[in-house]
């Protein structure tokens, strides 16, 4: 059957986008899978030798560093998203009150969102600086000395999470504020008539009403954080002693320093599968059962 003229017109309009999206997503995905099944170690002969699922077996059963890196990636992701969510919900609730200059406040709170990742990393590196950083200067005033924010293995993860929270909270605040503004005032009034305290209204009226927005924005920022490379790479480079070696920096290191492109690709595919699995699980678990939203 001939394609109708209208549909042919549509295909002409969509075609360039389809080609570009396919070239940058589908082709690399296929190439990535292929690479992950090849030796592809640039330092050894015959990079195209087929090794089957050897890299996957290595990663899952023989190399401990994959699992330890995965664990750190979860700490990094959950810590950053949870921290940013609590902060954003507090800010959005404040901004949702009948305050003056709301637009001004919202605009100022949004600033970190547009600061480039590289700049974010530089700023925090300077704030955390051991000798001349302003954080340690303030702490010295309180007679707390010698805190090495980025080079102490116990603190480094917390330090990079704080920087990521600073990066994530603006967008979350805007989205949560938009959701809060859509909660009908009548619901709150009805609840206070029934004798609900402010805290109870927050728990039983506000939170269920912003459930959908909360799930979407935490899922989205979670996916972003899970695969974020820039901030950790620039702040600690995965160190000290691998304390912040999350999957993206670990894969980069394997691919472009030890030149193990095959192994690194296998790790990348595993990472994609983990993201897909976790996202589905998250959506499944948080599916609204009775609450409308």
């Amino acid at each position: 059957m001939a394609v109708s003229r209208r549909n042919r017109f549509a295909y002409m309009l969509v075609l360039p986008s389809v080609i570009l999206v396919a070239c940058l997503n589908l082709v690399p995905l296929v190439q990535g899978v292929v690479t992950s099944l090849q030796a592809q170690n640039m330092t050894r002969p015959d990079p195209n030798a087929f090794v089957g699922i050897q890299h996957y077996i290595d990663a899952l059963f023989y190399q401990v560093d994959f699992w330890s890196s995965l664990g750190k990636t979860f700490i990094w992701t959950i810590g950053s998203v949870a921290g940013a969510y609590v902060l954003s919900l507090a800010l959005a609730s404040l901004l949702n009150l009948d305050i003056k200059f709301r637009n001004f406040f919202r605009a100022v709170f949004l600033i970190p969102w547009v600061v480039p990742d590289v700049v974010t990393a530089l700023i925090w590196k300077w704030l955390y600086n051991d000798d001349y950083g302003v954080i340690n200067f303030v702490l010295r005033g309180m007679h707390i000395r010698g805190i090495h924010w980025l080079s102490d293995t116990h603190l480094a993860m917390l330090s990079v999470i704080i920087a990521q929270v600073w990066k994530l909270y603006p967008l979350m605040t805007v989205v949560l504020l938009a959701a809060l503004q859509n909660v009908p005032k009548e619901l709150h009034e009805a609840a206070s008539l029934d004798g609900a305290s402010a805290w109870q209204r927050f728990l039983y009226v506000t939170l269920p009403m912003i459930r959908t927005a909360s799930i979407s924005i935490t899922l989205l920022t979670g996916i972003w954080t899970f695969q974020n490379f820039d901030l950790v790479y620039l702040l600690t480079g995965g160190g000290p002693a691998d304390a912040t070696e999350i999957l993206p920096t670990f894969i980069y290191q394997k691919a472009f320093f030890t030149l193990d492109l095959g192994y690194a690709s296998a790790l990348g595919i595993l990472m994609l599968l983990i993201i897909l699995a976790c996202s589905s699980l998250y959506l499944l678990v948080s599916r609204p059962n009775s609450q409308p939203a």
Partner: protein, 294 residues
């Protein structure tokens, strides 16, 4: 209903206990907001403040919040004694070209997605969403191999292609929404007047979606301007570096010159911050599809 606290009768005594409590509550709210602003914006303030201090003050024992004397010497040094202007130009070039290309390509696709129910439309829509989940680090390895194969390694073409394809899914989704919101009657009227479908898109739909298109364009520009990983992997020659990459390389080169680094960091952020301050309402409303009330 009349018993509710919110509808208390107008009180003549403004110093009544209830009123004082309410004033204190509002005072507390503004104080908390003020503290939040100071803490959360401090990193940006500190970057700018540090960039304007001469190095003697910057590394002094007694820290000053604001520079005692405004000193532009860090900026002058960064802009005249380092390849910073080249990086700036490269970034602008790559971001501008890829943003414009992405706009043109996505605009037509978005129009088809919004108006024509062609077979495969749903599938393409889902495919666009799925690409947003793909980790950049997974794609950078195969792309690196492909780009080498195509002899595009260490060129701006590689970056431009990557940024266009990167911006497309988001742009198509957003613009599809804007286009779909325009009443069909306007298009029908144009068709009656003899306009071709493309003519309708150019002369009716696009002018009416101006604010939305501007928001999407700004967003894409900012994303390309800030992008780091692809630039890190695809570029090798320093004279091709974009700002994020240049700044990161400064960090290795001048690791103790925080005065210069902060001047560089401010120079990278300032154009974006200025555009953002002017257009923030626009961007926020455009991206949330008008869900935000003023």
């Amino acid at each position: 209903m009349t018993q509710a606290a919110v509808t208390a009768a107008p009180d003549i005594d403004i110093f009544s206990a209830a009123n004082v409590r309410r004033w204190l509550l509002w005072l507390l709210i503004y104080v908390v907001l003020g503290i939040a602003i100071v803490v959360l914006i401090f990193p940006v303030f500190w970057m700018v403040s540090s960039s304007l201090k001469p190095s003697t003050e910057m590394f002094a024992r007694n820290m000053t919040m604001l520079p005692k004397v405004l000193s532009w010497q860090n900026y002058i040094a960064v802009w005249t004694q380092t390849p910073f202007p080249t990086y700036f130009f490269n970034s602008f070039k790559v971001a501008a070209i890829s943003t414009i290309l992405a706009l043109i390509v996505s605009m037509y696709a978005a129009y088809a997605m919004a108006r024509i129910d062609f077979p495969g439309r749903g599938l393409f829509g889902v495919a666009l969403l799925v690409t947003q989940m793909f980790p950049g680090i997974l794609f950078v390895i195969p792309l690196f191999l492909i780009i080498k194969e195509l002899h595009l390694f260490d060129t701006h073409y590689a970056l431009i292609i990557a940024y266009v394809a990167y911006s497309l899914p988001f742009s198509i989704w957003m613009m599809r929404g804007f286009f779909a919101a325009i009443p069909m009657e306007l298009e029908d009227a144009a068709a009656v007047d003899g306009a071709t479908p493309l003519g309708t898109l150019h002369r009716v739909i696009l002018p009416l979606s101006g604010p939305g298109i501007a928001a999407v364009t700004m967003y894409n520009f900012i994303r390309s301007w800030n992008e780091f990983l692809f630039a890190l992997v695809f570029l090798q020659s320093t004279d091709l570096f974009t700002l994020p990459l240049g700044l990161a390389s400064f960090q290795e080169e001048y690791s103790f010159r925080w005065d210069l680094l902060m001047a560089g960091a401010s120079s990278v952020s300032l154009p974006i911050l200025v555009v953002f301050m002017f257009m923030n309402r626009f961007i926020v409303q455009g991206l949330l599809g008008g869900a935000v009330k003023g």
